[in-house]
């Protein structure tokens, strides 16, 4: 059976989680606890040496990178529910959007998320404890990010990331003003991968994502949240960031 290693349903972990629910594929869900740095543990680095979730296990093979896992599910596990357009041109447009999430949109939102929340996970640690944690992180850029999150990101960097978030929500809203979905006139991986980053911005970035400034983006976020597979997924998969 398929096995997904991920955090709760947000950011990159949300992408394959949602694709699996939409496709109604059976899978075992191994949720890792980011607060315990479980993705940097030795057992998980045997699954993904980069110490990053999500990762998919399929008959002994490990597939990494959230967007590529989604494409893999379409390639290897076709179902009646198609999350990729049937024609090549629309598929290319879908990929322009998934590429853009991975190269631009996810990074600016992520930095602000780390600034606001993730940094708190390590602010209580002593210098020695923190340095010990860093040793477990295999990717240089991730170590730098943890260090910055603990010490505080430079204001110039935060300003630049906020500018990029502004550009991103404008781009999404402009496109969604004339299109129900991002690519190919249907709900695709372009929507899933962008939703994974955009969902929640109506709360956390409500000064930018709201009914006045970005009505089309808000409509699209709400529309995706109303999908049966999305509701089922959020009802089933615990979110470690929500404190009830």
């Amino acid at each position: 059976m398929l096995k997904l290693y991920s955090f709760g349903p947000g950011a990159n972990s949300l992408k394959p989680t949602l694709a699996l629910y939409e496709k109604e594929l059976e899978f075992e869900h191994k949720l890792l606890n980011p607060a315990k740095f479980e993705h940097h543990s030795e057992w998980f680095k045997k699954i993904n040496p980069r110490g990053q979730v999500p990762a998919l296990e399929d008959r002994g093979n490990i597939i990494t990178e959230s967007t590529l896992i989604c494409e893999y599910l379409e390639d290897e596990h076709p179902t009646d529910v198609k999350l990729r357009p049937d024609n090549s041109f629309d598929t290319a447009q879908m990929r322009v959007w998934t590429k853009w999430v991975d190269e631009y949109f996810c990074w600016c939102v992520s930095t602000i998320g780390w600034h606001r929340m993730v940094g708190n996970m390590v602010k209580g640690l002593s210098d020695a404890e923190f340095e010990e944690k860093l040793k477990d992180i295999p990717v240089h850029e991730q170590r730098v990010k943890w260090r910055r999150a603990r010490e505080g990101f430079p204001q110039e960097m935060l300003d630049e990331e906020m500018r990029k978030i502004g550009v991103s929500v404008r781009r999404l809203d402009d496109h969604l003003a004339d299109n129900e979905w991002l690519a190919g006139g249907m709900y695709t991986l372009a929507d899933i991968c962008n939703f994974a980053i955009a969902n929640g911005m109506q709360h956390g970035f409500s000064e930018m994502v709201n009914g006045t400034d970005t009505p089309h983006l808000l409509r699209w976020i709400e529309q995706i949240n109303e999908r049966p597979a999305v509701k089922k997924m959020f009802a089933s998969v615990p979110n470690e960031l929500k404190k009830d």
Copy 2:
């Protein structure tokens, strides 16, 4: 007929050019002159509003993003020559490599290339002439890069990019020590997209890419250069950087 808009056979422009030659697909090749900033001209921004090459025209549709053009050619124009593995797992591994080029490897090499060469294109311009050129560039990040190339990149940035180049060639060499090709045991888009960036480093970065430090990477670069389609392509497509 297919029509490719690109620069000469280097960097991102090389990717679809090489895929088209390998697949022996007929196409019209519209070469743009980077020294004349033709990609920022009004006529080309009607083709790609981002003012970036390469772009592929296929029956009135425009496909952008070099890696996605390559995937599109596999999707829409299958030929006897396959540049993507037949099975989904190997395809996912291929995409890990093409994604890595686009998100990591190409950027560090590009910055040093701009520092060494591209900046010279604008250093002779007056401030007013340069500002006029900048107005034609639609992408904010590209305007920033041109400004930095003209004023000089901060040393800290150049050092960091050189560090990343070191990580990149190590990663390639380690993988190619045990594998003839990057993914799926065959020549794929993973090789084409990485070769597009790595080829030439045996000259321009010979302190890092050489027979002693990276023998496997060098073997792979030479092996690809010996392919009939690659030789034919380099013999046919003029390279604006080479002064004969």
